[in-house]
């Protein structure tokens, strides 16, 4: 076991797969010579060569589209968007070509699209987005969003091995802030939810960076026993785990860093309101970023992103319900 940052864990997972499976290749802007904007693929060019670590032109549709082509003839491309935000420029290839291929013609598209996402460091409106709900709403795409170093490694390996297109959301704000013991070798984390802390009075459901916000906010909360459920995988969504937590806790707060409307949290809330209705002892409470672009200046950004205080407040209020 080595202690790795979330970022190192992703690199480690990618490297394992590059070493063990020559079908795997990396593509993206500045991922080779520079090692990637965040240095996730640092050293890859040296180890694996420019055939398998491709510095591409600045063209996101090109990256996703050519990855699809390579995938259907037997490769396992891993594409990096320099920031998740730029997937808007490759959106069509992702949702229409990759997402619908298997349903339409039984042809699998084993690509992984790495999406450095999320805010919290003054990235501004174009370097802070959490686009996962767009993918969740597009049939045929898997969507993963780890919160820990361990899961980041295990899920990136699972993503590469999955025969389907996978959107892998790696939260930039966790890259160097989060560390953990990570097992060596190649292994997969299942695409299911994980109880990050078990409890019985209330459950906070979150994923990505918000798991840490949830844990911090509820570490001590009026002596209540608060469960934190880390979704890890958004598609498939572990409905059973969600409903199970709700059944045990009866109160639920759903936390989203994405803009609130039609976010993942909305889907989770809708699921609970329909299938967990009888277990509920209070309103299905959401905490999320309002429908506003993510501002650059720290006081504005802090006002937008869900923080520890907001989560505490929501939990306290619901506990008191």
């Amino acid at each position: 076991m080595a202690e790795l940052t979330y970022l190192q864990a992703i690199s480690d997972g990618l490297r394992e797969e590059m070493r063990s499976d020559e079908r795997v290749l990396m593509m993206g802007e500045d991922i080779g010579a520079f090692g990637g904007a965040f240095k996730v693929t640092d050293g890859f060019l040296e180890e694996f060569g420019s055939d398998r670590v491709l510095d591409t032109p600045l063209a996101e549709s090109g990256i996703v589209g050519t990855a699809i082509g390579a995938a259907v003839v037997g490769m396992r491309p891993v594409c990096e968007m320099q920031f998740a935000d730029f997937i808007s420029c490759g959106f069509d290839q992702l949702v229409n070509v990759a997402g619908k291929m298997h349903y339409r013609q039984g042809l699998a598209v084993p690509i992984t699209v790495r999406l450095p996402s999320g805010g919290g460091f003054s990235g501004g409106p174009f370097h802070s987005q959490n686009p996962e709900a767009w993918f969740m709403h597009a049939p045929g795409l898997r969507v993963l969003a780890p919160s820990t170093a361990q899961d980041a490694k295990g899920l990136v390996i699972a993503a590469i091995r999955d025969p389907n297109p996978v959107c892998f959301l790696e939260h930039k704000h966790l890259y160097r802030r989060v560390k953990g013991d990570v097992a060596p070798g190649a292994w997969e984390t299942p695409m299911t939810a994980r109880v990050a802390r078990s409890g019985s009075d209330l459950v906070v459901i979150a994923y990505g960076a918000m798991v840490h916000t949830a844990l911090e906010a509820t570490a001590e909360l009026d002596g209540a026993s608060v469960e934190v459920l880390d979704l890890r995988s958004l598609v498939p969504l572990d409905e059973e785990a969600i409903l199970d937590s709700v059944a045990r806790c009866s109160k639920v707060v759903i936390l989203d860093e994405a803009n609130a409307t039609c976010a993942c949290g909305a889907q989770v809330a809708a699921l609970i309101a329909q299938h967990g209705f009888e277990d509920l002892d209070g309103p299905v409470t959401r905490v999320a970023t309002p429908d506003v672009p993510i501002a650059f200046s720290p006081p504005l950004e802090r006002a937008l992103l869900p923080g520890v205080e907001a989560v505490k407040e929501a939990c306290s209020e619901l506990l008191a319900y």
Binding site: E22, E46, D51, S61, T66, V72, G74, Q93, L107, P163
Partner: protein, 392 residues
């Protein structure tokens, strides 16, 4: 230093054809003569077409037209849901280009290119079933019209968004190059589709990486109702050079000219010479789709092109060589009647299948090889045909 990909370990997981291709690239003897033309990828430069090839070219063009005519009448009878798109007048472009491709090449086939599917070995009843949304159609009713590709025959079905497949073909070529395989990707693209960003990203990317890919620009004078002059100020084939891509223009109504341009482009691709943009000038002789009466097309333009019908002009050429073109037509008519009867007998899909298969749950199944009827690929044709018949 960089890992050498001299003999990729993953080649074991590839289907037979992809293995063979990899092995050839790595100096292993090809299995028997299954891919002979690729072991000697340089086909002779002069008159590469035999008499039988010529018959085959005409056969596929006739078959495309006959199927589409039959489908149009099925459409009018209400048996084809949605709308119906055909490629009348453009038979030479799809047949000529597809005819130059080897079994292990890979094709992304467009909406006016039924001929290419037929060349690759798709059975006519399945095409008609596809149009009618039957269970036996190539997408089992999930997609319609020519939005299909038979993955068992090395084809990837297009998406509607034009020209997205240019990037997919570019990506295939990227894999071929990376694996040092002697294979080529090909796709078609319309004159209208040249205006979209993906056209640019594909041409630029393929040129920068000198990828073995061929783009056939099917200039049929219109994009739906939009004429060329509203689409571009300069013929897009002129752009090829500015990307670092070979560019050629051919008579798209001359099936041998299209074949020859594609054959040369494919050789260039396999030789490491990078991509080629072939512009085939032709005319969409029907409306954009069945509902379109084409009143925006000047009648004189239609007349001009009607006189250059690719099938009729080729028939005259064949007749001059002593081939009975009328007999070919008769064969095709009968074939299509049988195909129609077979398709009409196929059931509609079972509604319970509607939600199946969004995700691939098992192992990814690879693309298979297509049929390659050109005589230069003669030995390769047999296994592909066999595989084609496995499909149904």
């Amino acid at each position: 230093m960089a890992t050498q990909l001299a003999r990729p370990a993953y080649a074991e997981d590839l289907p037979a054809s992809e293995q063979a291709a990899s092995q050839r690239a790595n100096g292993h003897a090809p299995q028997a003569t299954a891919h002979a033309p690729e072991a000697t990828p340089h086909a002779p430069d002069a008159t590469p077409l035999t008499r039988d090839d010529r018959i085959a070219l005409q056969h596929y063009m006739l078959l495309m037209r006959a199927i589409e005519e039959r489908a149009m009448s099925l459409y009018r009878q209400g048996k084809v849901p949605g709308s119906f798109y055909d490629g009348r007048g453009q038979e030479a472009v799809s047949v000529g280009a597809a005819f130059a491709m080897s079994p292990s090449d890979r094709l992304c086939v467009l909406h006016r290119d039924l001929g290419a599917h037929l060349v690759r070995g798709v059975e006519p009843p399945r095409v008609l079933a596809q149009y009618m949304g039957r269970a036996g159609g190539l997408t089992a009713g999930r997609d319609g019209n020519v939005h299909f590709g038979d993955r068992h025959l090395g084809c990837v079905g297009m998406v509607s968004m034009l020209p997205d497949m240019m990037l997919v073909a570019t990506g295939m070529a990227m894999a071929f190059k990376l694996r040092h395989e002697q294979r080529c990707a090909l796709t078609w693209c319309g004159d209208g589709a040249t205006s979209r960003g993906d056209f640019h990203e594909a041409l630029n990317w393929a040129s920068v990486q000198r990828l073995p890919v061929v783009f056939v620009l099917e200039n049929n004078q219109f994009a739906y109702s939009t004429p060329l002059e509203l689409q571009f100020a300069v013929d897009p084939v002129e752009r090829a050079a500015a990307y670092g891509c070979a560019g050629v223009k051919v008579d798209g109504n001359d099936v041998e000219a299209v074949f020859e341009a594609t054959r040369i482009a494919r050789e260039r691709a396999l030789d490491g010479g990078g991509p080629t943009l072939i512009e085939a000038e032709t005319m969409r002789m029907h409306g954009h789709a069945a509902h379109d009466d084409m009143r925006y097309v000047p009648p004189a333009l239609l007349e001009h092109w009607a006189a250059r019908d690719p099938i009729e002009t080729y028939a005259a050429r064949l007749e001059a060589e002593g081939i009975d073109a009328a007999a070919l037509q008769a064969d095709v008519s009968e074939l299509v009647e049988r195909a129609t009867a077979a398709a009409l007998e196929m059931p509609m899909p079972d509604p319970s299948m509607a939600t199946e298969g969004v995700f691939c749950e098992g192992e990814a199944e690879p693309l298979g090889d297509g049929r390659a009827p050109w005589s230069a690929y003669a030995d390769a044709a047999a296994p592909a045909l066999a595989r084609a018949s496995e499909v149904a």
